[in-house]
């Protein structure tokens, strides 16, 4: 029973990781790829850790499993935000945003990568 539950959780997490990997190839530019690379793999990792917890707990590994989850949940959004900001400034990605662009108000050049 426990092994079946662990296998289902691990498989679901791995499938989510594969979906993230496919999304990184299907989406058209860096901003949209960021969604696939950060969100899908984070949920996949959480499911994998849950499956491992079913096998390993109770035991001394509980602290490390919790640490992995806390690190990932705290840092994945921050890292995605940083990469998105950096990609906005570099690589000429900003002009392709044609709807609301609030970061442009924060940039002296209006976010188009050209000198003011």
């Amino acid at each position: 029973m426990g092994d079946t539950l662990a296998g289902i959780l691990l498989l679901a997490g791995a499938v989510l990781a594969v979906i993230g990997g496919i999304g990184v190839h299907k989406f058209p530019d860096a901003f949209t790829r960021l969604h696939a690379a950060s969100k899908a793999t984070t949920l996949g990792l959480l499911l994998v850790v849950g499956g491992a917890a079913v096998v390993l707990l109770p035991g001394p590994g509980a602290t490390k499993l919790v640490l992995v989850v806390v690190f990932q949940v705290l840092t994945a959004p921050v890292a995605a935000h940083l990469v998105g900001r950096a990609g906005y400034d570099a690589d000429n990605l900003a002009p392709r945003i044609d709807t609301l662009d609030e970061l442009a108000d924060d940039r002296p050049d209006g976010g188009d990568g050209q000198a003011p």
Partner: protein, 83 residues
């Protein structure tokens, strides 16, 4: 079942690695590397579950932390390079 999950994680890592290689922008490579590190962490945890031992879980903790620091430093580099 755990072996199948490990194979799927390997496939996912290869997809991320392909995105790292073909780019085309530096932001693409950095975000794909971040996803690749997450897949590696998941693989380490799944392998620990397969063997039923928690000896390698420290590797997962350190890899998760190093992945975050690496992505932050790379983002800072892209921002300062301003290419």
């Amino acid at each position: 079942m755990i072996v199948a999950a490990l194979i799927l994680l390997a496939v996912s890592s290869l997809l991320f690695l392909a995105r790292v290689v073909i780019g085309p922008t530096l932001a693409d490579r950095v975000l794909a590397l971040d996803g690749l590190v997450t897949c590696v962490v998941a693989s380490v945890v799944a392998e620990a579950a397969r063997r039923g031992s928690d000896l390698t879980l420290g590797v997962a903790v350190v890899a998760a932390f190093v992945g975050f620091v690496g992505a932050s430093v790379a983002a800072r580099f892209i921002e300062q390079r301003g290419a």
